[in-house]
Every structure is written in C-alpha cells, then in structure tokens.
C-alpha cells in the first residue's frame, strides 16, 4: 500500500552483517537510538551510570581487599552503553593473559565466525590472537541480537543454550515474550569457564538464586572448576560472581507479570505516529515516561523515589556486607601471622568464600536491588551473617591457640 510506512526487511551484504554501518539507512530509528548508547550521562539514582572510569573500586574501597590477588582488584568499572563494549574490553587492565572465551559476550563475531567454524575451539586460544581480526565496527553490532538475514531476535550463546536446556528449557522454541528476556539473558548472567575446554557455562542447574548457584560450585557440578583464585590475604579459594541480572529478574514481580528486560530498557518510542523499539539500552529512569508509565499510574517522581529507596536500602546492606567480608579476610590473615594452621583455618576460609559469594552476587548485579528487592536483600543478610561467623570462628581458634 502507498501509505504503508512499516519497516521493510533490508538485505544487508554478507560481509557487512557484523558491523552497524550497513544497517543505518534501512533502520534509521533503531540505528540512531542505538547510537545514543554513547551517552555518558550519570544515573538518576546515583547507582550505575555510564561515565568512563566510573570505578567500583573507588566507590567501594573494600573491593580492593575483597578481590586481592585477582584481576578485579586492578580495574573494575561500572558498565557503560553497548557501543563501548569493544573499547572498554580492549582497554581493561584485566585483559592481559585472558583467553578467547572472553569475547563470548562482546559481539557476535565469536558465533558467526569462530563458533560456526569450529565450536568452542576459540575459547581456549590466547585472547590477542582471537581478537586481532575483529574490526572496531564489529564489536557489538546489530547482529549481536538479530539474525541479519531476518532481523528476528536470536539466542545463540551456546553456553546459555546448554545451561537452560539442563533446566528443561529450549530457549529457541520459547515464546516471543520470553525471547525478549533471553536475548539479554545470554550475556547478563553469572558464568564460569569450564576447566575442561574453557567454554562458557552457567551454574543454573539447582535454581536461580545465590544459594543454589553456590551449591552448584560446592557439589562438584562445575567439574574440575573449583575456584577463580586464591585470596592473597586469607588464602581462601574464592569465586567471582558476575552480573546475575537474569537470575535476579527471573523470579521477580515483574517477571511474574511477563515484564521483560526489553519492556523497561528498550521501551517503544514514537515517530510520525508509528512505534519503534528504543535501542538505547540504558537506565530506564532516563526514559521513565515510556519505560514505566504505560503500566504504572504513579507519577514519575513517585516511581523514581521508590527505585531510589530500594537502591538506598540495598546499598546500605551491601556496604556493610562488603566491609565485613574485608575484615574477615584480614582476620584470617592475622591468624595465619600468629601461627594458625591450614587445617584450623579450613572452616573460616569456607565461610569467607561463601560470605563473599553472597555479597558479590549483589555487588555484581546491576539493578541495585530494584530488579528483585527481597531476594537481593536476603542474599545480603546471609553475607553479613556468614562474614561475621568467619570472624568469630577465626577469633575462637586464636583464643585457643594463643
């Protein structure tokens, strides 16, 4: 029809499918809004945000102690827009010495080039070799989420597909609505690299909360993988939790109501009487009107204040937990200095490992509690308890041995 202004599927030349440039003309609304990911304005709540060098380590100095001996103590910034994914990755001080598996969630290059050729082989090759051929425009392009031939959403990160399959869920036969979560969930989740072949795997088997995931690592379900590093002070075998955004959301009130990541982070916008999907995946409070107010009748101020309150409550406990964990590491170190044996310190080290896991699960999550308030707060309560138990246990040992 002559008046039909609906978006037409465009043919993108095969050699340009991994970039963004070639999509610009066919999908200007989506392309332009995606480019807004370059915006670096601060977060309305003060949590998160998109400034360069927005360092967690400066904001919460206890992290320097908690990650001592691990790369996260070198540089650990708050996430920025998707357009920075390549740049921030290449520049992080955590990069040297890593393997190819690291690029799994930074573009679809790993899939469209490497995985299609030879499966997980890229995962255990040196990172420099693996990332060398990736051009600037090929980091995080449209193909990261869309099948370039059909522009349908696609979920192709095999580690995620396999982990969900173990939960009985076939993500590629999921409903369209569920896909609007899975397309994000394939990256925004907790993962580890298997010792066996370096592939990405997820500890989802027992459930989607911090306790179930901890049990996964404790019970041997992670195979030969036992820890990410040995803590420099306490010598405890530590786990690093990474961005469990999916797991946090998955059991939330919003998920119950079928509200997905996309509904809030990529709301419909309008231009010329037609809707399009915003591709500026940022803090939804920057677009409260479109992100929240279609479903909610409260005023934008009321909603923002509520998100702020949840964030403040979460941050309050997160700091207490983080600092207590730091103190626990130092207490164990003091015990070691005073002559405590590895055997005596076995239990305290397990306790600090567990305490830090719970704290980090929240600290690494990106919603500052909002994605699932009571689940996140429960996790912090457990962390505070375990960290103190570690301190008390260690002190009890010392009392005996002094």
């Amino acid at each position: 029809a002559p008046n039909d202004t609906s978006v037409k599927l465009a043919k993108i030349p095969q050699d340009k499918q991994l970039g963004k440039e070639a999509y610009k003309e066919a999908y200007p609304l989506e392309y332009n809004s995606f480019m807004k990911n370059n915006d670096t304005s601060p977060s309305p709540t003060g949590y998160g945000g998109a400034q360069a060098e927005n360092s967690h380590l400066t904001e919460q100095p206890e992290m320097v102690e908690n990650f001592k001996g691990y790369k996260f103590a070198l540089q650990y910034d708050d996430d920025r827009g998707h357009t920075y994914a390549g740049e921030d990755f290449k520049n992080t001080k955590r990069l040297p010495g890593q393997k190819g598996n690291c690029i799994t969630c930074k573009s679809s290059y790993m899939y469209d080039v490497y995985y299609k050729q030879s499966g997980w082989d890229y995962a255990s090759k040196p990172i420099d070799e693996v990332m060398a051929p990736i051009e600037d425009d090929q980091w995080f392009g449209c193909s990261t989420c869309h099948d370039p031939e059909t522009m349908e959403l696609r979920v192709y990160q095999q580690g995620f597909i396999d982990s969900m399959a173990r939960r009985g869920i076939d993500v590629n036969n999921a409903s369209h609505n569920d896909k609007r979560a899975y397309v994000c969930a394939q990256c925004h989740n907790e993962y580890y690299f298997t010792k066996e072949d370096g592939r990405v795997n997820h500890p989802f088997d027992n459930g989607l909360d911090a306790e179930s995931e901890y049990e996964f690592y404790q019970s041997g379900q992670a195979g030969a993988f036992k820890q990410d590093w040995i803590h420099a002070d306490s010598k405890a075998p530590m786990l690093k939790a990474q961005h469990p955004d999916f797991e946090t959301w998955a059991t939330s009130v919003h998920a119950d109501a079928g509200v997905t990541c996309v509904d809030c982070h990529m709301p419909y916008m309008r231009e010329n009487g037609q809707k399009y999907t915003s591709h500026w995946m940022t803090n939804p409070l920057k677009t409260t009107e479109e992100s929240c107010l279609k479903c909610h009748d409260e005023s934008a101020e009321t909603l923002k204040a509520r998100v702020q309150t949840i964030g403040d409550n979460t941050f309050k406990l997160q700091r207490i937990a983080g600092k207590t964990v730091a103190q626990a590491h130092k207490t164990i170190k003091a015990a070691m200095d005073a002559g405590a044996t590895d055997e005596q310190l076995e239990e305290p080290r397990q306790l600090v490992r567990e305490a830090q896991w719970y704290w980090d699960w929240v600290a690494a999550e990106n919603g500052m509690g909002f994605h699932n308030p009571d689940k996140i707060m429960r996790t912090l309560g457990l962390s505070i308890d375990k960290a103190h138990q570690c301190i008390e246990k260690t002190n009890a040992i010392m009392k005996g041995s002094l």
Binding site: H176, A257, G273, Y276
Partner: protein, 162 residues
C-alpha cells in the same frame, strides 16, 4: 425476589427469551442499536457503574463501550455476541449474584485486544505484533495498556451511611 425464583425455575426459557428480545430490541432501529452500546446504556446497570465512571475520564471516552467489548470482524458475529453477552449480563444483574469485583474473562480480553489493533494497526505497523496469532507478543496490548480505558486505581469511594 420473584424474579429470582422465576429465573431459577425457567432458566433456559428465560435465557432464550432474553436472547430473542435482545436481538429484536436491537433490531428495531439504528438509534436503539447505537444507544444499546453507549456508555449511558451500559452504565445504567449497578454492576457497570464503576467502569462507566472510570471510562468517562479516560482518553477514549468518546467511544462506545461496544467498540472495545464486542467483536467487529463481521456483523453476524457482532450481533450474536451482543445477544449472548447481553443475556449473561442481564441474568446476573437480575439475580444480583455477581461478584463484588467483576474481572474480564480471557475471551473478553482477546476481544478487546483485537479491537485495539483494529484502530491502531498503523501505530503497530513496524514493531513485532502478531495479533491474532498469539497474545504472547508485542501485540498483547493489555500487558502495557490495561489501564487505558478504566484507569488502574480501582478505589471506588465509600458506601454512604445516610
């Protein structure tokens, strides 16, 4: 409560009668036809007062209730549903056995949803909205717009002691 007894004894007959009368009344003329879909008509029942009141404050207040609550795919379907639902509504209104909180049924929701798209097809032309195939898409209008016609604040105002 003679009405109630009458209904309970001769439910089927009454319903059939109601149906015929409903269709006949509606067929009398286009004026009656239009009226029997209007907020004034629908809102004349106690059970409908809340919805009529909230609707009167909505962005869609110029519409007829039936624009949303009856199917508009063809006239026969429309008339049939009008008779059928009108009969159920009348039956419960007379028996006064409807719940304090009337909730739209899943078929009712589907009908409304189809009507949203009937008017707003163009708006949704460029985004994923397979309405009719499944409500599990961007086409599930009520997922985001369920308060468009009746608000979401269902506080009803007190019961007066006079």
């Amino acid at each position: 409560m003679e009405f109630k007894e009458l209904f309970q004894k001769h439910t089927l007959a009454c319903l059939a009668g109601g149906f015929v009368i409903g269709v006949a009344v509606c067929g009398i003329g286009s004026a009656a036809m239009a009226f029997s879909g209007s907020p004034a008509f629908c809102g004349s029942c106690h059970a409908m007062k809340g919805e009529a009141a909230t609707f009167a404050m909505s962005s869609h207040r110029a519409l007829e209730c039936t624009d949303c609550h009856l199917p508009h795919d063809n006239a026969v379907h429309y008339m049939f549903e009008k008779g059928r639902t009108g009969m159920i509504d009348t039956y419960h209104e007379v028996l006064r056995d409807y719940p304090a909180n009337i909730k739209i049924s899943s078929e009712g929701r589907q009908t409304v949803n189809d009507n949203c798209l009937r008017c707003h097809q163009t708006t949704m032309g460029s985004v994923h909205a397979d309405v009719g195939v499944s409500m599990d898409t961007g086409g599930d209008c009520l997922k985001c717009h369920s308060s468009i016609a009746h608000g979401s604040n269902h506080l009803e105002g007190g019961i007066k002691v006079e």
